[in-house]
């Protein structure tokens, strides 16, 4: 049991909280046809983090968050500029910006000596969930022991705060968010600041992406923005229920993914664990696949029944 506490509790919690923090804004993104914003954000975060590292010389949470948020802002401004000035459709404008910024990040990373610190492209993609272990745990008593709790990986409290803030924001701004997502015109006429709400949603997604990225890498970020909310969308027609389902799916993906990655290979007689981040994304995909095949509201309203 100590082994579980030391090796698995913190990664599972971090995985679950990251998944929820991304899935919550993801619900609104997919309804607003902005699902690929998560993809774009998780790419542009890289140059932000590298620049923050070059500016401060250390790998610390705060400068990295600031750098990543700055990069996300630059990306949004660039995409808007290209859309307006060049009259280019949004998808293509996004493709231009995020690939160029990611390429810049990779080049910067290759050009600087980051061998002394834990900063490389693969880490950025895959995260290192497995390394977030809790050395100070010695039995269940440690859960109430302040000294042992202080030894928790710092990523855990950070992602917990971010997840809580995002949940709180979703709760507080529920009505304007829902209104402006479903009927922007009506929302505007009843005085909801729709543009501000839209920007705030992207900003909240960026914060979730950055915090989760720090702990689990960009694959989970993209998968969690899209797969649990998409599966939830097929389960129900009510937004409240959809958000609830998406949290359930995100949690299940994170736990099952971690367990399969850590213990699954052992069941097949292999020695080493496989990537937890990749496995969590794969499990969320499996859930979505099942939802696509069997969920009650999977079809478009008006679509042909039966052999449709």
């Amino acid at each position: 049991m100590d082994a579980f506490l030391q090796l698995s509790l913190a990664p599972i919690l971090i995985g679950v909280l990251s998944a929820i923090a991304c899935a919550l804004p993801g619900n609104f993104l997919i309804l607003r046809r902005q699902a690929l914003i998560g993809d774009a954000i998780s790419h542009v975060v890289l140059p932000g983090i590298v620049v923050a590292f070059l500016a401060t010389g250390v790998i610390a949470a705060l400068p990295m968050l600031v750098g990543a948020a700055g990069a996300a802002l630059v990306a949004v401004v660039l995409i808007e500029t290209i859309k307006r000035v060049g009259r280019i459709e949004p998808g293509a404008a996004m493709g231009v910006v995020f690939t160029a910024m990611f390429a810049g990040g990779v080049l910067l990373l290759e050009q600087t000596d980051t061998s002394a610190v834990h900063l490389d492209v693969e880490h950025a993609l895959m995260g290192n969930l497995e390394s977030l272990i809790w050395f100070d745990a010695a039995g269940w008593g440690s859960l109430v022991d302040p000294a042992a709790l202080a030894g928790l990986p710092p990523e855990l409290p950070r992602i917990a705060v971010v997840a809580a803030v995002i949940a709180l924001l979703t709760f507080v701004f529920w009505r304007p968010l829902k209104l402006s997502t479903f009927d922007e015109g009506f929302a505007a006429t009843v005085g909801v600041p729709t543009r501000t709400i839209g920007l705030a949603l992207v900003a909240a997604s960026a914060v979730a992406a950055v915090a989760a990225f720090d702990a689990v890498g960009s694959i989970i970020v993209i998968a969690m923005f899209i797969c649990p909310p998409a599966a939830a969308r097929l389960m129900t027609n009510r937004l409240e229920a959809q958000v609830g389902w998406s949290i359930v799916f995100a949690t299940v993906s994170a736990i099952l993914g971690y367990v399969f990655a850590g213990y699954g290979p052992l069941w097949f007689g292999a020695q080493n664990a496989v990537s937890a981040a990749g496995m969590i994304a794969a499990v969320s995909g499996a859930i979505l696949a099942v939802a696509c095949l069997a969920a009650p509201h999977r079809r478009r309203i008006g679509a042909a029944q039966g052999q449709g």
Binding site: A92, A100, G285
Partner: protein, 407 residues
């Protein structure tokens, strides 16, 4: 370093480097031109799903080749595997959009992240295999041309040339389908087949580009050159050609720069060269560029100020606005002491008369298109015929000289 770049540009940095540069250029041309059709169908980001979906195929192909006792690093085998899994990903995106209520962007994002996640799982499995330690499959993420085998470079060059040939053969039907699928179907073009061919081309470019640019950035070669070319032209043929040239240029320059010094990974350099070309175009393009827009705005501003200034002259009103004064003075319509010159008085009288003509015209043609054209800048001669204007003049009376009681 300039010398190193120059020698790489002139194919003097070794046979392999030259092959890679030629291969990248061919690939860039095929990707730029092929991506244009995707962009025109507004499906540019589907290539991102295709690119990420290649990863599990690479992993499975490696495992399969090792299990069969072969060399897991055989490029042709790996690329074949990646093509299969990318095709599966593409079909799944299509299936999700067709059979569920989820939108295409959701399907793209889901396939992209899940396939990539699966691929990463397979990569970690391969790392634990005895033959997998030196597999170097991570090179497919961001591309690596350093230490590329000669036969690999040949595969890329031949593949790029083939993709280009298919593109040239299919450009007519693809243009038709990109703009008007309904019309294309009526003309007897098999829209589904052409769509399939277009996706096949995208898939081929992606797979061939994996080794050079890497699967995360290959989408840039399919998107940035078409977007750049679109800034320069409104004609499909031109956009396709320009996108091909820009893509080829980016591929060639990028590969050469990357070969000239260490720590310059090929993929990101190609993308950044492409992005630089894009930024240049966004500034300089003739009608959609930033500079062109600024010039247009300035010209418009001057026309408004000139007209307001002329009307003020005609009505003997004082002109205070500095820009108006500057415009009038530069055109020789007023003297430095703000008094109208002869030319200025003539133009002012004409401006005032045109204003009154418009007034009458709008009264006469209240519900016609002509009166809707009144914006103060359109000259009345371009809207009405001379005899219409003569009729209006008859109503207004004979012209009087400005400054002598025009009203």
């Amino acid at each position: 370093m300039p010398d190193a770049i120059l020698s790489a540009l002139l194919f003097q940095a070794g046979y392999n480097a030259a092959l890679v540069a030629i291969g990248s250029a061919l690939l860039g041309i095929a990707a730029g031109a092929g991506g244009t059709f995707l962009f025109l169908r507004k499906r540019a980001l589907i290539s991102d799903a295709v690119a990420h979906a290649t990863l599990p195929g690479i992993g499975l192909a490696f495992i399969a080749m090792v299990a069969l006792g072969g060399d897991g690093r055989n490029l042709v085998g790996l690329l074949a595997g990646s093509a299969v899994s990318a095709a599966v990903g593409l079909l799944l995106v299509d299936w999700i959009v067709r059979h569920t209520r989820l939108a295409e962007d959701v399907a793209i994002g889901a396939i992209l992240s899940v396939f990539f996640g699966l691929g990463i799982v397979l990569l970690t499995v391969i790392q634990t295999m005895s033959s997998g330690r030196q597999a170097g499959l991570e090179g497919f993420l961001l591309g690596s041309t350093a230490g590329m085998l000669r036969q690999d470079a040949l595969v890329i060059a031949v593949g790029g040339a083939l993709a280009l040939a298919v593109l040239v053969l299919l450009r007519r039907p693809m243009t038709l389908v990109a703009f008007d699928p309904g019309y294309a179907a009526a003309r007897g073009v098999r829209v589904q087949a052409v769509d399939l061919a277009m996706m096949g081309l995208v898939l081929a470019v992606t797979v061939i580009g994996l080794k050079v640019v890497g699967l995360i950035l290959i989408v840039a070669m399919l998107i940035i050159p078409p977007v750049t070319a679109r800034l320069w032209s409104e004609r499909t043929d031109t956009v396709v050609a320009v996108a091909g040239v820009l893509g080829g240029l980016a591929g060639y320059l990028g590969a050469a720069i990357s070969a000239s010094a260490p720590n310059l990974p090929t993929g990101p350099i190609i993308v950044l060269v492409s992005f630089s070309l894009f930024c240049f175009s966004l500034l300089m393009a003739p009608s959609r560029g930033v500079l062109a827009a600024a010039v247009r705005h300035r010209r418009f501003q001057r026309r408004v100020h000139r007209r307001q200034g002329l009307l003020a002259l005609a009505r003997n009103e004082p002109i205070l606005d500095p820009l108006t004064l500057k415009v009038l003075r530069r055109d020789g319509l007023i003297r430095p002491d703000k008094v109208a010159t002869d030319a200025g008085r003539a133009r002012a009288a004409k401006a005032l008369r045109d204003e009154r003509r418009w007034e009458v015209a709008r009264r006469m043609h209240q519900d016609e298109g002509a009166s809707g054209r009144y914006d103060g800048l359109t000259s009345i001669e371009t809207v009405l015929t001379p005899d219409e204007i003569a009729a209006i003049d008859a109503e207004i009376g004979a012209p009087r000289l400005a400054g002598q009681g025009a009203n």
